[in-house]
Amino acid sequence: MKRSINIWLSLDKITILLYLLLVVMGWLNIYAAVYNEEHSRILDLSQRYGKQFIWIIAAIITGIFALIIDNRFYFFFSWFIYGSLMLLLVLVLLFGNEINGARSWFEFSWFSLQPSEFAKFGTAIALAGYLNSRRHDLTRWSVLLPASAIILFPALLTALQPDMGSTIVFLSLFLVLFREGMSPYVFVSGLLAVILFFLTLIINNFYLSAGITVIAVLVVWFATRKWKIALAGSGIFIVNAAILYVIDHYLLKKLDNELIILIALLISGVLFAWDIYSKKAMAVLVVYLFLIGSLIFVNSVDYAFNELLPNHQRDRINILLGIKSDPKGTGYNVNQSIISIGSGGFAGKGYLQGTQTKFKFVPKQSSDFIFCTIGEEMGVSRVTGSNSNIPVFVFTADNSG
């Protein structure tokens, strides 16, 4: 891949424009979040928004340098950069300062550093470097596994901090792997795992298991277009489940309903095994395996969550998912920020008019909880309007690839 001499021509101008637009919007919202009348100049350097301006300028200059530097530089040094940043991630776990319950910052006398932010950049470079040297080989496990390791290593380290936000950012790099040829089964499995994880915590497990089973039957019917298979399968399953239920109800008296579904499915599978094998019904087998996998996953997540997790962490997740509420304690931030966003209504309270923000009911409102300011002051209409350029951003990014 020969580097073009004229950088300007090869630039993806739309992406840069969208990027700059988001940056400016972010800047204005920081201004709104920490706005006070005594320092109303947006370039006031003593305030967050003034500093943000300096960062924006610095970032643009850095960006220009990054563009000018020959891309072979990155490929050459990618492993070095990745390696040193991973070292930093390990070190921050050992020597970092604990702030708000997370060990993610190095604090020095005159500056502080969050290595996970740099690690995101380093991981992207390392992944790009790795994939660049063995293009289109992601269909092979021998390529997929190292590529996954590049992503999972920093994801694990940040999860230990714990900084789930960064973990999710790292995990989102799997989208790239999928885009470049990763097996859809792996991708769907991963996606399913994430979705099921949250559904397990929110929905009663019996309904969830039953729901997954019904969906699986429907999928079989859609995939094979043979209602006989779907019907016969459901029939066998229901009979199995009913027998199990009766046995449990009168004799064992200790099986949960969702466990009955799982066992009934396993028995049904054995009964169907020869049929599937003889007819080479791969689609049915795949669906069946996903179904069994999902149910096992659901039951183990439930067990882990209720039996293995310490109480306070369980509380924190419960509050995050809205299962429990504790508006004065752990849930204060979440509660106040939902109040902020919720009070914005359709049109919002107007720029610089958000009372929740202005009177500092929301913590960290210029960084982690910046969206409260946006939601409160702009309302649902304008948030939707302005956020719609994020998917556009993603679309154009792929086009330029």
């Binding site: 289109h136 989208l175 999928f178 885009r179 470049e180 040829g181 106040q336 939902i338 109040i339 902020s340 966003i341 919720g342 009070s343 914005g344 209504g345 359709f346 009372t355 929740q356 202005k358 009177f359 500092k360 009911f361 939601g375 409160e376 309302g379 649902v380 948030v383 939707t384 956020n387 719609s388 994020i390 998917p391 993603v394 679309f395 792929d398």
Partner: protein, 612 residues
């Protein structure tokens, strides 16, 4: 170069779209579908600060200030907003213990975490000044200015009433009042609470997370202005009131003085009384408990309105009037008296006497015979019928029911109905002689000093009265309740009143055997009637009613001195001094004044109370 996975970009796009959609739907739900969040945000940020109006001032009839206001500051707390407070420093600023702090916080939390409660009542000006600078440190606390009552003289407590904090049951009944609010209790403060309290206003402020005020909400468009309470002009004469309380010192009893022409109460004394200043501020509840627990002298008890006595001989003019009106006697009718009539005794005096002489001499025999004639009048079929007619006259004078004054706890008194006697003696089984003691104001009948003063005013007016009242004007328009301008006319000819008044004049002004010569005032014709209310617990109560001058009377008065014996002994001099004080503002008989001022009847009372 061909990309075999080009279609996967659409899957990724779709995922992005779904994620965005989920966010937008969630946003839609919390921003538009649910309005609880908007309300929470308002509750977070808006603080409703009640603007307390000052209570109206109270003046006496000559425009002299009796009751005014002084500022006080309550510390309020909103428990939900308190956090990170340096309790030790806060307590030392306020001069309270940390135990007290905890106690007050607990009771505030018990009331409500989100609504303000009173944390500490009525802190001093100095404490307030010290605290003001540091108030911002104590989030969730703020200062609520209030007004307290201030009295120019330590008198008229029973008339004015007092102001106290509302209790929980009242808050439930009347949502206007909030915890920590004040309300008038008894007297003018209670009767005119609606007018005198004004109307609370509310200022809506925006506060930040530290509950610091950040400006007014919507530029004050939603605020309501507090309306000041109306000023009240009372009908009392403050000098007369003070003099009356002075005269009644170390005695028990009451004085009620009324301006006959208007029904305005000039003075209303109930002894023993208390200093109204005792029931103000932080000391209020403690002092109130002390006053209330003083069961020996009952300082909070307003005898003028709430004590029911048999009227005694002061009732004789009424029976005379009814006899005249019913035509069973005339002014010339004479009855003989040989130390009494049947079983009712009498004192020694000339005999026989005509009506005026009988009033002046307070002859029991005369009025027993008159009363018998009234009840045995052939005009009515039976004693019962005649009694009903007699009772009707009494009701016209205001006996047996509440007068409808602007005093809040007035007693109705008691005039027995025929059924009362029917119950005791059987229907038509009782005769005039059965109830003969009513002729001289003894027996079952019960009247209050206020009712007796009103009766005296009606006699002074020769046949009518206005409902007694203590307030002659409210607010700038100086209006009063229309019920006080209604003339109550008594169904007895004014000529008959003149005949009785001659007797009352004689009683004071030198008729042979007159019982109340002691009440005489040079150059003022005082018309009076002595009385002795029987007291089963000890020495009888001394009673005197009088009005003056005889023509165009300006004051009608009833005086009760408990456990003092005959009416002429103490009640008559007190009434006389009051009349002279009011009409002339000087006292000519200094000797009598000194005798009354030095008189201490408390020893009598203690003696008599140990007897029974």
């Amino acid at each position: 170069m061909k990309d075999p996975f080009i279609n996967r970009k659409y899957i990724i796009m779709a995922l992005m779209l779904v994620a965005c959609l989920v966010l937008i739907v969630r946003l839609f739900v919390i921003q538009i579908v649910k309005d609880t969040y908007r309300l929470s945000a308002d509750n977070n940020v808006l603080r409703y600060v009640t603007q307390y109006p000052a209570r109206g001032l109270i003046f006496d009839r000559s425009g002299e200030l009796i009751v005014s206001n002084m500022a006080a500051y309550d510390i309020m707390v909103i428990p939900a907003q308190t956090s990170g407070i340096d309790t030790a420093e806060f307590c030392s600023l306020l001069g309270i213990t940390t135990d007290m702090f905890k106690r007050q916080m607990r009771s505030a939390v018990n009331y409500s975490r989100r609504a303000p409660s009173v944390f500490l009542k009525q802190i001093s000006d100095e404490t307030y000044a010290r605290l003001q600078e540091k108030m911002f440190l104590y989030t969730g606390f703020y200062v609520q200015p209030r007004t307290l009552r201030k009295y120019t003289r330590p008198v008229a407590a029973h008339i004015l009433g007092y102001v106290s904090e509302v209790d929980e049951s009242l808050i439930r009944k009347n949502p206007y009042y909030k915890p920590g609010d004040y309300i008038g209790k008894s007297g003018i403060e209670e009767a005119y609470e609606k007018e005198i309290r004004g109307r609370k206003g509310v200022k809506i402020y925006m506060v930040d997370v530290f509950s610091r005020i950040k400006g007014s909400y919507a530029e004050g468009a939603m605020d309501t202005v507090a309306v000041q309470g109306s000023d009240i002009v009372s009908s009392i004469d403050l000098d007369l009131q003070e003099y009356g309380e002075l005269l009644m010192k170390n005695k028990r009893g009451s004085i009620v003085a009324i301006e006959p022409g208007t029904g305005e109460v000039l003075s209303l004394v109930s002894a023993p009384g208390y200093d109204p200043g005792l029931l103000v501020g932080r000391v209020r509840s403690e002092n109130f408990a002390t006053l209330q627990s003083d069961t020996a002298i009952l300082p909070l008890f307003n005898r003028a309105l709430m004590a029911s006595y048999p009227p005694g001989s002061t009732f004789k003019p009424i029976n005379g009037l009814i006899g005249l009106q019913e035509g069973v006697i005339s002014e010339d009718t004479k009855f003989g008296c040989d130390f009494g009539y049947l079983f009712v005794g009498c004192h020694g005096h000339a005999s026989p006497l005509d009506l005026a002489g009988a009033v002046a001499n307070s002859c029991n025999s005369y009025f027993c015979q008159t009363y018998r004639r009234v009840l045995e009048n052939r005009k009515y079929g039976s004693v019962s019928e005649a009694y009903i007619e007699w009772k009707r006259y009494l009701n016209e004078f205001g006996f047996g029911s509440k007068l409808g004054t602007d005093f809040v706890n007035e007693l109705a008194g008691f005039v027995p109905s025929t059924s009362y006697y029917d119950r005791y003696h059987g229907k038509n089984k009782w005769k005039a002689l059965t109830v003969i003691s009513m002729a001289i104001g003894q027996g079952e009948i019960g009247t209050t000093p206020l009712q007796m003063a009103n009766m005296t005013a009606a006699i002074a007016n020769r046949g009518y009265f206005y409902t007694p009242h203590i307030v002659r004007g409210i607010g700038k328009e100086n209006v009063i309740d229309p019920r006080f301008t209604v003339k109550h006319t008594i169904d007895i000819d004014s000529a008959n009143f003149e005949k009785i008044i001659v007797g009352m004049e004689g009683a004071v002004n030198g008729a042979p055997g007159g019982t109340a010569g002691i009440a005489r005032i040079r150059d003022i014709i005082v018309c009076g009637k002595t009385g002795t209310a029987q007291n089963p617990h000890g020495k009888d109560h001394s009673v005197f009613i009088a009005f003056a001058p005889k023509d165009n009377p300006r004051i009608a008065i009833a005086v009760y001195v408990e456990n003092a014996g005959f009416g002429s002994t103490y009640a008559a001099p007190v009434a006389s001094l009051m009349i002279e004080k009011y009409l002339r503002d000087t006292i000519s008989n200094k000797v009598m004044e000194k005798r009354i001022l030095d008189l201490n009847l408390e020893d009598n009372i203690i003696e008599s109370e140990t007897q029974h």
